[in-house]
């Protein structure tokens, strides 16, 4: 099955290259086809990995690419990457499907496929340089999505759009430059860029100082993408401006690249260094949770609010990573997937609402969605309730495990329990701002002038239905996903992640 | 101190001093002539160091051709014969130049003194003879030598092309200079 992962990565890229040459209507449908093939490959790859065990690297492929740099095209899959690969495949299908009806454009579909391909390459890359290249590949198509198809109805028009696009690209590129420095430092000191080998060494061959510097640089670079407070200010404008497809990709896939990098690179390759960085990382994470929550309490634009809530969710992921415990890492990975599903759901719904009202301002959207547009209203409610971390829905497990990880973390030192408590308080703030949203737009008496807007079409319902199911299933049956990551996180942590 | 050493020192002092005058003088023609002296003294230095052919080439090419070219250029650009205070750059830049010159000279001298210390060598006459140099040039250095001839040709063509008198309306600088100093 050695063809599986290369095919998985190359199919969307090939689609992205071919689609712009096809006629518009046909191209958009072909995009769905390509995405479906990718999803099928992702499912197959996950199945294959699962049959032989998620605990080890499976389906490895390795060929020299640029021998002078020691760069290898080295792909592989394990319990950390498999769920993310599946999520990427699923979201790519849904976004392509969404684009068949809403604003079909072959170039946009091509960009979506390019983002998919780049993300899949990032999630399966086992070479530090390859990881970096794949990580950067995603940037350009995403920039195009915001820059070309972005919303120009905001105050400021095209200037605001261009500002958001360049802010996104410059911010993340700056972060990537820092990360590249860290990667080069690691490669220079260890003499290899092979991730499997680096993980096996677990930081051996690098002094603690080197590790700390490298971990600092890599964490900083990845934290921009994640995004971590206070490096998050590119996210709200990017989300607000991006078209629905772009927001879904951004929240569902792109943000995962950063946290995946932390788990795949920072934790296992530089354990001693991350240990020193962890208290800071955890601190910024919990500040982000509370900060973003409070900011949401007064935010007026629903898309911006969802974006800010992503910062809070990602705070839990970061806290889980910073805890450097098996529980915390599992929580981080779970929260990653959960956030991908829930935020994608929310952005689809908010996008649909915005299409109807031509604004995402809470005062324009509301009140009375529950009576005016019941289907969209209930979908929004589900997304909000999931977003506030209700047990029984997906997000809860990630948050619980991240807090549990932080509570028993030795990496966070004396700050472990304070961080855990602050994060727990953050869940109450999340409830407060989501309830505010529901109170403002879902409840209340519908205004007369908004009557007659169409409720969710079948097409829209079909697109979000898989996400609804995933939200509920992940919330009620956490076992399968947790068992996927249970084994592999021990290999990533120093000393098998035994909590003293 | 041996005889060659004394000679070398004298020539070196002459070369350096005349070189200094060439870059500080206030009459352009004098500067060019001081350059002649400096280059000539250098030829002497080469001779003492046993590089006969190089010394000859120095005299032929530099003193003979290059300096003549410089003097021609001075004449063609209507350089003033009398002392002029417009030969040097403004004060600030001059200060920077002094600093840069002293640091470059100082760094080089320091490095070389540290590297050579009181190293002495015995110069053998045939070392730089025309036979040896000729053999070296036409064996191991043939390719660079030929390339050099191409370079010279190219420089020749380029010099002609650049300095050819263009009709006024085709001159590229036309739009930027108004009445300009075009003759």
């Amino acid at each position: 099955m050695s063809w599986l992962l290369p095919a998985l990565v190359l199919v969307p890229f090939a689609g992205a290259l071919v689609l712009p040459g096809l006629p518009d209507r046909f191209a958009v449908r072909a995009g769905v086809g390509v995405a479906l093939v990718t999803l099928a490959l992702a499912v197959l790859a996950t199945y294959e990995t699962g049959t032989t065990g998620f605990g080890r690297m499976q389906l490895e492929v390795r060929t020299d690419w640029v021998p002078a740099l020691g760069l290898q095209a080295h792909l592989g899959m394990d319990g950390v990457s498999a769920p993310l690969v599946l999520l990427t495949g699923l979201l790519s299908v849904l976004v392509c499907l969404y684009l068949t009806r809403v604003g079909p454009d072959r170039n946009l579909v091509a960009c979506v496929l390019a983002v998919t391909g780049g993300s899949l390459a990032t999630f399966t890359a086992l070479d530090l340089l390859l990881f970096f290249i794949a990580f950067e590949t995603v940037l350009i198509p995403m920039w195009l999505v915001i820059r070309i198809w972005g919303d120009t109805t905001q105050p400021g028009g095209t200037a605001t759009r261009n500002d958001a696009a360049s802010r996104f690209v410059l911010y993340t590129a700056t972060g990537s430059a820092l990360m590249l420095l860290g990667i080069i430092l690691v490669i220079a000191r260890t003499g290899t860029s092979d991730l499997t080998e680096l993980i096996e060494r677990g930081g051996a061959g690098m002094s603690v100082t080197t590790q700390t510097v490298a971990a600092g640089l890599i964490v900083l670079g990845l934290a921009v993408k994640t995004p971590m407070w206070p490096l998050h200010t590119w996210l709200p404008p990017a989300h607000t401006i991006a078209p629905t497809a772009g927001s879904v990709l951004l929240a569902g896939i792109l943000l995962k690249l950063g946290t995946y990098g932390l788990v795949r690179v920072a934790v296992p390759v530089l354990p001693a260094g991350l240990q020193n960085v962890a208290p800071w990382l955890g601190g910024f994470a919990v500040v982000g949770i509370v900060w973003a929550g409070l900011a949401c309490l007064t935010e007026r634009d629903l898309k911006r609010l969802v974006a800010l809530s992503s910062v809070a969710h990602m705070g839990f992921v970061l806290l889980g990573v910073a805890s450097m415990t098996p529980t915390g890492l599992q929580g981080a990975l779970y929260a990653n997937i959960a956030h991908g599903v829930v935020s994608a759901l929310l952005f689809f719904v908010v996008g649909a609402l915005k299409d109807r009202h031509h604004s995402a301002d809470l005062s324009v959207l509301g009140p009375g969605l529950r009576d005016r547009l019941p289907r969209l209203g209930w979908l929004l409610t589900l997304g909000a309730v999931a977003g506030l971390g209700l047990p029984g829905l997906a997000v809860f497990w990630g948050e619980l495990l991240a807090i549990a990880g932080a509570w028993q973390s030795s990496a966070l030192g004396a700050l472990d329990r304070p961080y855990a408590v602050i994060a727990a308080v953050g869940t109450a703030i999340a409830a407060a701002y989501w309830l505010r949203v529901l109170r403002l737009i879902w409840q209340g008496t519908p205004p007369a002038d908004q009557a007659g807007l169409p409720d969710a079409t079948h097409h829209e319902t079909v697109v979000v239905l898989p996400l609804v199911v995933a939200t509920v299933v992940l919330g009620l049956l956490p076992g399968p996903l947790l068992s996927t990551t249970a084994g592999v996180v021990r290999l990533l942590l120093p000393g098998g992640g035994v909590v003293p | 101190m041996s005889g060659p050493d004394l000679l070398l020192t004298a020539l070196a002092l002459l070369a350096a001093a005349s070189g200094l005058l060439a870059v500080t003088g206030s009459r352009v023609v004098h500067c060019a002539l001081w350059l002649v002296v400096s280059l000539g003294a250098l030829a002497g230095v080469y001779l003492v160091l046993g590089a006969e052919v190089v010394a000859l080439v120095q005299l032929l090419v530099y003193v003979g051709a290059v300096v003549v070219l410089v003097i021609f250029a001075l004449m063609l650009t209507r350089a003033p014969v009398e002392p002029s205070d417009r030969l040097d750059a403004p004060k600030g830049q001059k200060l920077a130049a002094v600093v840069a010159g002293i640091s470059v000279g100082g760094i080089l001298a320091g490095t070389l003194i540290y590297a050579l210390q009181d190293l002495t060598v015995k110069v053998q006459g045939e070392q730089g003879s025309a036979r040896n140099i000729g053999r070296a040039v036409f064996s191991g250095w043939l390719l660079p030598f030929e390339l050099l001839s191409v370079l010279l040709l190219a420089a020749l063509v380029a010099a002609i092309a650049v300095s050819r008198h263009l009709p006024a309306e085709k001159r590229p600088g036309q739009s930027l200079t108004e009445d300009g100093g075009v003759q």
Binding site: W291, Q330, L390, G392, Q443, A486 | Q93
Partner: protein, 640 residues
């Protein structure tokens, strides 16, 4: 068999919720009623089966979650405690569903849009969540049901979401309980870290055998208590419950009788063996319960709204149950099963469930007739709707604890437990006992007051009387003279357990082994309750139907506003948080984002400055080149 019954009691309402939502409004009613009926049958079957086959400690439900070194088994358990509470839940839910079909039948106007399918589904979801809490063998699984209940209560309290007060009350209910739930989440975290398990039976066993550190148990116990206080609406997190009266009345019955508030007490009873190892947590709970008991009863005394009166009475009664559980550490452990010590509390939970559901549903009928919840609009029920008045009276007698009604037995059990603890010589026992006795009098007073106003009253303003002068159409837009059968039926159904609850004590029911009623306390309690009721009921003869009027004005206002605790919370928590949020928004824009926006002007300024070096002078550039060369050389020499 037991397992299937337990699983069915959870799955049936959940499935009916989903089907009711998906299959459209035509079927919503049938699915809702069928689901709750199924749950009732399943629960009764479970109770019977547990009695014959014995309890089942753990059986799989949602699989296992492997995290780190801990495996969380999302399993269920079934024993007499869970089965008994499940029967109560299912019974109340069934009554509420039947009742709601009629109660919400008036919807469909522009003022009140049709939300019945969603409403019925939410009630079903609520039932399922409570069933999950009752049957959970694991704290994490319990937490799922626990919070889903919070969500359902949010949706139901906010049912009339076109009313601003309903929106506010819904959000308040969710948020306040959520604050308490931070404690539960953290408790789970503490237990995962400290005990390595969240299984309830493992925790109880390990704590009893001192396998877990004392600090861990105490922390977890106190944190769980915070969740209990939030869910069961005890001081200081009780503020959501009176406001939750904005929901439709059947919802109030559901929340107050069987679900939500009962969940906290249930959890304490479930974890009693663990709590017994940390008396500190129980003492804290006892103090909070005593404060809630007396305070809420006092507040109930002066309420001007029937539903709010009942709400405060719920806080007070739930405090009884909690107090009964919290004195457990000072009582003698008889038969060896520490859970038996929770029996008085559980007994009161069950009897309270019956009479409070009856009271609320009856109140719903009264509201249906009057079209208002204000006590001032009511009166003369005894003359106009006698059967309803009788049912309401039965509920009030149960509440007041007049023998032989249900409330009497359970309340005396609680008092006996407190008495026993007090005689063991601890201050906790004394606190609960004194508060309990005081509350009995107060309960009698406000129960009697409710009766005096609603059933007797001087000026009946009911439409049946047809008094045109007092009955303005706009004052009473929803008033009806007749109560639908679907609304009366559940009342009769609930009146049976209210009247005959005492018979439960005659059955050889293991769960209630620990219940002892001391004749001394019982007689004292009954007399006190009677005197309270009597005093209040005789008030009309003293000139006013409302004894609260006899209170000084300022004291009355203080009690009516529940000691202004709401305002205190608003000033201490809500305002600061909102202020902080505004500050954060400002900081986000002007500080955190400022450095990002500063990049552009900085670049521009740097460009303008650096452009000056671009003079176009060849020698100027040469200076830079050479200076650069010198600097690099020096740097190279220094560094290497």
């Amino acid at each position: 068999m037991t397992e299937s019954a337990a699983i069915l009691s959870i799955v049936l309402p959940a499935a009916s919720a989903m089907l009711g939502l998906l299959m459209g409004r035509d079927w919503a009613r049938d699915w809702a009623v069928l689901g709750s009926l199924g749950a009732l049958v399943a629960a009764i079957a479970e109770l019977v089966l547990v009695g014959t086959d014995g309890p089942v400690t753990a059986f799989g439900f949602l699989g296992r979650a492997q995290l780190g070194g801990t495996t969380i088994d999302l399993a269920l358990r079934s024993d007499q405690l869970s089965a008994a509470v499940a029967v109560l839940v299912a019974l109340v839910a069934f009554c509420v569903q039947i009742y709601s079909t009629a109660y919400l039948a008036g919807e469909g106007t522009p003022d009140a849009p049709t939300r019945y399918p969603a409403y019925a589904a939410t009630v079903s979801l609520f039932t399922a969540a409570m069933m999950l809490v009752v049957h959970s063998a694991d704290l994490v699984l319990l937490l799922i049901g626990w919070e889903v209940m919070g969500l359902a209560s949010y949706l139901l309290v906010g049912h009339h979401s076109e009313r601003a007060s309903a929106r506010a009350a819904a959000a308040k209910a969710f948020l306040v309980t959520r604050v308490g739930d931070i404690g539960v989440v953290l408790a789970v975290v503490v237990l995962i870290a400290g005990a390595g398990t969240t299984s309830i039976s493992d925790l109880n066993r390990a704590a009893t055998e001192n396998e877990i550190g004392h600090g861990t148990v105490l922390t977890a116990g106190l944190l769980l208590l915070a969740g209990v206080v939030g869910k069961s609406a005890q001081f200081p997190l009780h503020i959501w419950l009176p406001d939750a009266m904005e929901g439709p009345t059947p919802v109030s019955a559901l929340i107050h009788a069987a679900t939500m508030v009962a969940a906290g007490v249930f959890l304490m009873a479930r974890l009693l063996p663990l709590y017994l190892t940390v008396p500190g947590a129980l003492q804290t709970g006892a103090v909070l319960a005593s404060i809630s008991m007396v305070g809420a009863a006092l507040a109930a005394l002066a309420q001007t709204d029937l539903k709010r009166l009942l709400a405060y009475s719920t806080i007070s009664q739930v405090a009884y149950m909690l107090g009964a559980v919290c004195v457990a550490s000072d009582r003698e452990l008889g038969s060896g099963d520490p859970t038996a010590l929770a029996a008085p509390g559980v007994l009161h939970l069950l009897s309270h469930g019956a009479f409070k559901a009856l009271l609320f549903l009856a109140a719903g009928c009264i509201v249906h007739i009057v079209g208002s919840t204000a006590l001032a609009d009511m009166g003369g029920l005894w003359r106009t709707h006698r059967s309803l008045a009788v049912l309401f009276g039965i509920g009030l007698l149960g509440l007041a604890g007049i023998p032989p009604f249900g409330g009497f037995w359970s309340k005396e059990a609680v008092l006996s437990a407190a008495d026993e603890a007090a005689h063991a010589g601890t201050w906790v026992g004394w606190t609960v006992l004194v508060a309990g006795v005081l509350t009995i009098v107060l309960t009698g007073l406000y129960a009697g007051r409710a009766w005096a106003i609603v059933a007797m009253g001087r000026d009946p303003v009911l439409p049946a009387v047809g008094d045109a002068e007092t009955e303005e159409p706009h004052e009473n837009p929803h008033g009806h003279s007749q109560v639908p059968v679907a609304m009366m039926l559940p009342l009769y159904l609930l009146a049976i357990p209210t009247v005959a609850f005492g018979l439960v004590l005659l059955t050889p029911f293991d769960l209630l082994h620990g219940v002892e009623i001391q004749p001394g306390t019982a007689i004292t309690g009954a007399l006190l309750a009677l005197s309270g009721v009597g005093w209040a009921v005789s008030a009309p003869r003293l000139g006013t139907p409302d004894i609260a009027v006899a209170l000084p004005v300022r004291a009355r206002a203080l009690l009516e506003n529940a000691f202004y605790f709401d305002a205190v919370i608003r000033a201490l928590v809500v305002r600061p948080v909102l202020g902080l949020a505004r500050t954060v928004q400002m900081l986000e824009r002007d500080v955190v984002d400022a450095y990002v926006r500063a990049v552009r002007p900085t670049t521009e300024i740097a460009g303008t400055v650096l452009r000056r070096t671009q003079t176009g002078l060849a020698t100027g550039y040469a200076v830079w080149v050479l200076v650069g060369a010198v600097v690099l050389t020096v740097a190279g020499m220094v560094l290497v």
